[in-house]
């Protein structure tokens, strides 16, 4: 009995010792060990926000983000390289020997992406393989990828994103904050290998997906503009060309084409020199200010009419083709004796504009130039907008009096020109050009509504506008330098221009390279669109605005009006 008691008491003491130690452990080390355990168990995962879309004015998705499977490998876990590579290569349709050697080369590494953006069936096949072979050497990860539905369309406006999914150009850059959204976070309990334990609850702060930007662009008009502009630029090997279509009554940019285009998915192609690629990515519509040349004449002429210094019908004594001002010789292409002001525009007479310059004087010229918005950015919401060049009045001299009226001694971006010209297409109001209509949040709520026109100022009285348009600018197309823009069914009005280009090396102007421009509106009675086409440094003798740019503008006008207004009714009695 005593011996049995000893045994049982000893056993009881052993059990109690364990229990006591358990309590001591909790009392002494509990909080410290608990904190340490909590540290190990929790991990924060980032829930990436989906970048917002960019839509055109009609809601077409120009840019969107989609989740695409990506196949990665952990080469350090591969045992039989030839065998594994063959299986994966067959699914991914790549060369098994290539894959094997690439994997072997990285046998010390833990992570290598084999292929991105694979098809869903390929991803599923890889998942099956992984499950079947119980391997962790391969896996599928979902990645967000930017998708440009129309390829290169409007690439200069849309821009592109970098590797870190950051907008680096265009709308992608300007609206990056809104498009990007906010990444969410999930604090999960994880196992010893940092894998999330699904059974246990997470603390989740959901991602806020990016907002969508709605542009004023219309993909159809944009396509037409890019097609016609691109054909001309490549045919004449021009450095670049810009075509802008605007709604003159609102300032909305309906199309903004820059040629040559680039691929937003590959903005710096390997085979291309980075300087060349960077040149290619410049949005010349807003970033390049050039001397406008003769397309500038209507602004000075109409402002002079508006100021009562001249009427549209007043005859000026040209006595060309050359006239000299204080030793400076101004040339016309053709010889004219007398021209009314509308004729000066129609024939693009430099001498006529020179005479007008004398009558207006520098101070008023400067005021006209600024009134049309030149010399300051338009405020369109695109990155990298140039101000253009309008020198301060103090620096103007006698030379300026004849230079400014013919669009020299200053520089303007294509967007500034089309914005100013739109005032001649509506009833004389300068509107701020807009390319963004609004921003919608991820849930469809309106974050920004910029669909309203923003009038800056009235630059001309309506009757002046009508007079300049119906006499001067119509004559340009009907009988003047812009005859190649004539269109069946629609009365086009406009102005040609052949701008000189600074010779950066030798000073003065380049001999044989010009900026061929045509700015126009249509239809005459109630203009629906204004269009600017500028072709920079075309490699051809025939590089005048009327020869090069007007035909392109005509095609764009025809397409756009057909699209907006419907087909032109055939004229009575005429059969083709």
């Amino acid at each position: 009995m005593i011996r049995a008691a000893v045994v049982f008491v000893a056993l009881g003491a052993a059990l109690l010792a364990g229990a006591r130690h358990l309590v001591e452990l909790e009392l002494a080390d509990g909080p410290r060990l608990r904190a340490r355990a909590r540290d190990q168990e929790r991990k924060t995962f980032v829930l990436p926000a989906v970048r917002g879309s960019i839509l055109d004015a009609r809601g077409r998705q120009l840019v969107s983000t989609s989740r695409q499977p990506c196949v990665f490998a952990d080469p350090s876990l591969i045992t039989n390289f030839a065998f594994e590579a063959a299986a994966i290569a067959e699914i991914l349709e790549v060369d098994p020997r290539w894959l094997e050697s690439e994997l072997l080369r990285r046998r010390e590494t833990r992570y290598w992406v084999i292929a991105r953006q694979v098809r869903e069936d390929q991803a599923e096949a890889v998942r099956d393989l992984v499950r079947h072979r119980r391997t962790r050497a391969f896996g599928i990860k979902m990645e967000n990828w930017r998708h440009y539905s129309y390829g290169r369309l409007a690439s200069h406006v849309l821009g592109f994103v970098g590797f870190e999914r950051t907008g680096l150009a265009g709308i992608e850059q300007r609206f990056d904050d809104l498009l990007r959204g906010r990444d969410g976070r999930r604090r999960s309990m994880v196992d010893a290998r940092s894998r999330r334990i699904r059974q246990l609850t997470d603390e989740t702060e959901p991602a806020v997906d990016g907002a969508s930007v709605i542009l004023t662009l219309d993909a159809t008009i944009q396509q037409s503009a890019e097609a016609h502009l691109g054909a001309c630029v490549s045919e004449f090997s021009a450095a670049w060309g810009v075509a802008i279509v605007m709604d003159p009554w609102s300032g909305e940019v309906l199309a903004c084409a820059v040629a040559p285009s680039y691929d937003p998915l590959d903005p710096s192609p390997d085979r291309m020199d980075e300087d060349v690629a960077a040149q290619l990515r410049i949005n010349h519509a807003v970033a390049s200010a050039v001397e406008p040349g003769s397309i500038f004449k209507p602004f000075i002429a109409s402002a002079a009419v508006d100021g009562g210094l001249i009427t549209i019908d007043e005859e000026l004594e040209i006595d060309g083709p050359v006239r000299s001002w204080r030793g400076r010789r101004i040339h016309d292409f053709k010889r004219h004796e007398w021209l009314p002001l509308w004729g000066v525009l129609a024939q693009s007479s430099n001498i006529g504009m020179g005479i007008l310059g004398d009558r207006v004087g520098n101070e008023r010229l400067y005021e006209y130039v600024r009134r049309f918005g030149f010399g300051e950015p338009t405020g369109v919401r695109l990155p990298g907008e140039a101000w253009g060049t309008v020198r301060p009045l103090e620096l103007w001299d006698d030379y300026s009096t004849q230079s400014i009226p013919i669009g020299q001694e200053m520089a303007a971006t294509p967007l500034q020109v089309i914005a100013a010209f739109s005032a001649l297409c509506n009833d004389g109001i300068l509107y701020r050009p807009r390319i963004v209509r609004g921003v919608l949040g991820a849930d469809g709520e309106t974050l920004e509504d910029c669909s309203r026109p923003i009038p800056i100022r009235r630059v001309l009285e309506p009757e002046v506008v009508r007079a300049v348009r119906e006499q001067g600018l119509r004559a340009v197309v009907e009988e003047g330098t812009g005859r190649r823009a004539q269109l069946d069914g629609w009365q086009v009005f406009g102005k040609t221009g052949t701008g000189q280009i600074d010779d950066r090396v030798n000073g003065g102007y380049l001999e044989d390279l010009h900026t061929a421009s045509f700015v126009c509106g249509a239809p005459l009675e109630n203009p629906r669109i204004s269009v600017l086409v500028s072709i920079y440094k075309a490699q051809t003798e025939e590089d005048g605005g009327g020869k090069l740019a007007a035909p392109v503008a005509k095609l764009i006008v025809a397409d756009t009006l057909a699209y907006l207004e419907g087909p032109v009714p055939p004229r009575d009695g005429v059969e083709d």
Partner: protein
């Protein structure tokens, strides 16, 4: 076979329901905890495939173990007695079977090696069998049977003490080669039973020295044992290697706090704590139902111990007293040792928590042992009859 006369099997009362209840509760806890501890990160909430494929196994074994326990409790355990020459069929064949099974471990192709130790025999159907668990029951029965033989004189060496020590020691040694912890446990049980049956002090002392020598030899046999011992003695445990497990065990206990994270809500079982469903299940118990839950488990073993004491001191049969002592020792010593290992009171040894840890052999043979303990209670006279004895 000789069927015992009815009057010798005459009982004063039925089997002990408290023992069955306590062991049954522990089995239920084991089923739940093993189910919880075998959870994996990528499983779905309810996956029939997953459950039938393994996680439900412990429940099946627990049910079988419970049935074995109830069955054993129904049978008078005195059938194992060897009090007359020629009586020894049951106990003798049990002993021989245990020796044969333990020897079979060393035969190539039959033994199954896991983590450097061969402790189980491969069975068809993906099952395995641990002779060590069987040896626990066999040792208790054999020792009790031999000690109760009237011709044994415990004061004599060859015919008495030595015979029991050597025959029992053979089992202990065979177990100890591959499973030091269980071997040591069985050695203590053997010595304990010898001690209770009146062994001479200096015999026991000598046995103690011999046991220490054998133990030292067995530690020398497997280097990892020495390493674990060193880990335990070290002030700054090696967190990467052998000390990792014990640190993780303590973190699991601590992360449950007093009241635990809730059943199934533990995290340390997801790859942090090795051996989380068998040797270290007590840590998971503490994590999920708290230190309070752990204390409750210890309390259940204490109750079992007290019930064993109650039977051992009141039973009218010397054989049953020894069985009660042996079984209670086996279960409670194992439990005490396991709790001590998990809380880092003693060096890490592969000892499972009775009835709770995963493993079929363990729950079946401990169920058998608990059934025998419950059965011995029938030899405890009812209060009215106590006066007669």
């Amino acid at each position: 076979m000789d069927v015992r006369p009815l009057e010798s099997l005459e009982t004063h009362r039925g089997f002990d329901r408290l023992v069955v209840l306590l062991a049954g509760l522990l089995m239920v806890l084991g089923t739940v905890m093993v189910y919880s501890a075998t959870a994996t990160v990528d499983q779905r909430a309810f996956d029939l495939q997953d459950i039938l494929g393994g996680r439900i196994r412990q429940a099946v074994f627990a049910v079988l173990g419970f049935l074995v326990m109830v069955f054993a409790a129904q049978i008078d355990c005195r059938i194992w007695r060897w009090e007359k020459p020629g009586d020894g069929w049951w106990a003798g064949s049990l002993y021989v079977a245990a020796v044969v099974l333990l020897v079979a471990l060393f035969l190539p192709g039959i033994g199954e090696e896991r983590m450097g130790a061969t402790r189980s025999l491969r069975l068809p159907g993906g099952l395995s069998f641990q002779p060590g668990e069987f040896a626990k029951v066999a040792l208790v029965i054999w020792t009790a049977a031999v000690l109760c033989q009237p011709w044994r004189d415990m004061r004599r060496v060859v015919r008495g003490y030595g015979y029991v020590l050597v025959t029992g020691g053979l089992l202990v040694g065979l177990v100890g080669v591959e499973d030091f912890g269980t071997g040591a446990l069985l050695g203590v049980v053997l010595v304990g039973m010898l001690f209770v049956s009146g062994a001479v002090w200096w015999h026991l002392l000598l046995t103690g020295f011999a046991g220490a020598a054998v133990g030292g030899f067995l530690i020398w046999l497997k280097p990892y044992r020495f390493q674990r011992l060193m880990t335990w003695f070290s002030d700054q445990p090696d967190v990467e290697g052998a000390g990792y497990q014990i640190l993780q065990s303590q973190m699991a206990i601590a992360s449950g706090g007093w009241w635990g994270r809730g059943l199934g809500a533990g995290v340390r079982k997801y790859g942090y704590l090795p051996q989380d469903n068998n040797d270290f299940i007590f840590a998971i118990v503490c994590e999920e139902i708290g230190v309070i839950g752990g204390l409750a488990v210890v309390t259940m073993f204490l109750l079992l111990l007290m019930r064993g004491w109650w039977i051992a001191t009141r039973s009218g049969s010397p054989f049953c007293r020894l069985i009660a002592v042996g079984v209670t020792m086996t279960i409670c010593l194992q439990a005490a040792f396991n709790v001590a290992v998990v809380t880092n009171l003693v060096p890490t040894k592969g000892i499972s928590l009775p009835f709770v840890s995963a493993g079929g052999s363990g729950v079946l043979f401990l169920g058998l042992a608990a059934g025998m303990l419950a059965s011995t209670a029938r030899t405890v006279p009812l209060p009215a009859e106590t006066a007669d004895e």
